[in-house]
């Protein structure tokens, strides 16, 4: 019996262990296949968590404390920082400065839309104008700051040009809050117009050319072509530009910091936050400010996503 079973089992045995033995192999293979994507994701995820999510979590935590960023001690102060932000008017005033940039971005979008429309038709030196309008977007912010410090300087570029037209002025362009903020917002338009323009141009050109030809044959004017063909085609990009402008206006830093250092009422929210955190060592308060800004930007983005679903934004 034992013999026969052994004999009978013999031919089976090599096969039988083969099953269980080979099964662990696929199981191992499956395990390694399950691990493979994670091997590729380890470094990216580690960086993402360390430099994006950990800071957000810490920031929210700091915002409820009075930490100075250096000392090992900190006390929990509840919503104290947030009430301070809302009640100390000078901390809140920086939001009014964003108003200048917001207004400027309206000008910027309208101008970009105009130039994109004009240059989508056949114009002489089209590529030259396209390049000239886009180039400022690529220039280093510090260089732009200096270029325009000289531009607005007493007896600088602007005064000289006005002098050519017989307008003699000794107006200090960066001297009063209104004038300074308007000038700085103007620089911001000069710098960022190019991106909006190229985005709009790309959207307009992705509209099939036959549509324009058909409209032309039907006797549609340029305005009618804009209204009925171009405008609907660029809606998604337009809404994207609006959101970029809003979050951009709230987080302006470079141009005013480089040009005026935040003097004469040109301090923006980010300049104030940087000063609070790194000059006055008020990490807790600065964190609260940053949380507020983050929430506003997220809210704006959320509203935009609700209005225009993002899969429509597909240019390339």
């Amino acid at each position: 019996m034992a013999d026969t079973t052994r004999k009978a089992a013999r031919p089976v045995l090599p096969a039988a262990p083969a099953g269980p033995q080979r099964a662990p192999a696929p199981r191992g293979a499956r395990l390694s296949r399950r691990l493979t994507p994670w091997l590729f994701l380890i470094a990216p995820l580690a960086l993402l968590l360390t430099f994006t999510y950990a800071p957000i979590a810490n920031m929210v935590a700091y915002s409820f404390t009075d930490w100075d960023g250096v000392s090992p001690e900190l006390t929990y102060t509840g919503i104290g920082n947030y009430t301070e932000l809302l009640t100390r008017s000078e901390l809140f005033e920086v939001f009014f400065v964003s108003g200048y940039y917001l207004a400027a971005s309206v000008v910027q979008i309208v101008a970009a839309l105009y130039f994109a429309t004009v240059l989508s038709f056949d114009v002489r030196f089209r590529n030259f104008f396209k390049g000239v309008l886009f180039f400022p977007y690529l220039i280093n912010g510090v260089a732009i700051g200096f270029v325009f410090l000289y531009f607005f300087q007493d007896g600088g570029t602007l005064d000289s040009v006005l002098g050519l037209f017989g307008v003699e002025t000794d107006h200090a362009w960066l001297g009063t809050p209104f004038s300074a903020n308007t000038s700085l917002a103007g620089v911001s338009v000069w710098r960022h117009l190019g991106l909006n323009f190229v985005l709009f141009l790309g959207a307009i050109q992705s509209v099939p050319g036959e549509l324009y030809e058909a409209a032309e044959i039907d006797g549609a004017s340029r305005w009618q072509q804009f209204r009925h063909i171009i405008a609907p085609g660029i809606r998604p990009v337009l809404s994207l530009s609006v959101i970029l402008s809003v979050s951009g206006s709230l987080s302006v830093f470079e141009i005013p910091y480089i040009m005026t250092g935040g003097a004469t009422g040109t301090e923006t929210f980010v300049i104030q936050t940087v000063k609070l955190a790194f000059q006055f060592n008020k990490t807790g308060l600065a964190s609260a400010a940053a949380v507020v800004l983050l929430l506003i930007v997220l809210a704006v983005t959320w509203v935009q996503r609700r209005i225009v679903p993002d899969e429509k934004v597909d240019l390339v």
Partner: protein, 276 residues
């Protein structure tokens, strides 16, 4: 004259005006960079031409006293490391997300998506503490790590592109016995070349121009990149506009050259980057 020709003339006029508005401030700074300090002291107007159009003294001063050479060196090191790192990180993430089905895949995608909405400027207060905790403060590692680790746009560009590479190519390589890593290195990475080019251009220009991160994280003068070194011109050269102008022109020139040679790629790259 018909209405259309008038309209056309006005359109051209507006374009010429816009071109002037863009080019005039830049031209004036270029002219100023060629003037001697004597000319400036004598009240040479902004629109006056320099006496000697080949006067490069200010550029020498900017290079020597303004430490522009070491600034260009530091920028180059950061640029190469950050762009290289971004390409690796971005393409690996895109490969893992697009080509594998694994548990928590949706969560991972959501984490990257959500991060794209967080503007970097807002979180620096707390990021600073983390960078400091790693001992990277005031070293070239801080900007390299931050540029590499917080660039979601590049991941999007790679993701968008990898979808257009047929999966059958991976499968064919797998049948030939290639593992996941070989597929990534031998099949995916070479085919991602156009996306890599886009990322190199967009990321390269962004890193070259960035001021905020090097300003916050590398206060040492030896670690100046072009933005921060140029910013420091404000102190010692205070009213010496001819030197400051030379520095600004030095910084703008490489951008201009890149722009003239790679125009088409730049338009596409930035369009892709912004619309994700």
């Amino acid at each position: 004259m018909t209405r259309r020709t008038v309209a056309r003339a006005l359109v051209h006029l507006s374009l010429v005006l816009a071109a002037l508005v863009v080019l005039l401030p830049l031209t004036v700074v270029f002219l100023t960079s060629l003037k001697s300090s004597g000319e400036m002291a004598n009240g040479s107007g902004a629109l006056t031409l320099p006496d000697d159009p080949l006067n490069l003294d200010n550029y020498v001063t900017a290079f020597r006293d303004g430490r522009m050479l070491s600034a260009f060196g530091n920028t180059a090191v950061i640029l190469v490391a950050a762009v290289g790192g971004t390409i690796l990180i971005g393409s690996m993430t895109a490969y893992a997300i697009d080509r594998f089905h694994f548990r928590f895949r949706k969560l991972v995608v959501a984490l990257f998506l959500l991060a794209a909405l967080v503007p970097g400027v807002t979180t620096q207060v707390a990021t600073f503490q983390i960078v400091n905790g790693f001992g990277m403060f005031d070293s070239l590692w801080a900007p390299i790590a931050l540029y590499m680790g917080t660039d979601i746009v590049s991941i999007y560009i790679f993701l968008q592109f990898i979808r257009s590479i047929p999966v059958s190519l991976d499968e064919a390589a797998r049948l030939d016995g290639a593992g996941a890593f070989t597929v990534y290195r031998k099949v995916i990475l070479p085919l991602l070349k156009p996306a890599i080019a886009t990322v190199v251009i967009v990321k390269g220009i962004t890193v070259y121009n960035d001021f905020y991160i090097p300003f916050l994280y590398m206060p040492s003068e030896d670690l100046g990149v072009i933005s921060t070194s140029l910013f420091r011109f404000k102190g010692p050269f205070g009213a010496h506009w001819e030197t400051i102008s030379a520095g600004a022109v030095l910084v703008i020139l490489p951008t201009l050259i890149v722009f003239l040679f790679l125009q088409r790629f730049l338009y596409n790259g930035f369009t892709r980057g912004a619309t994700k």
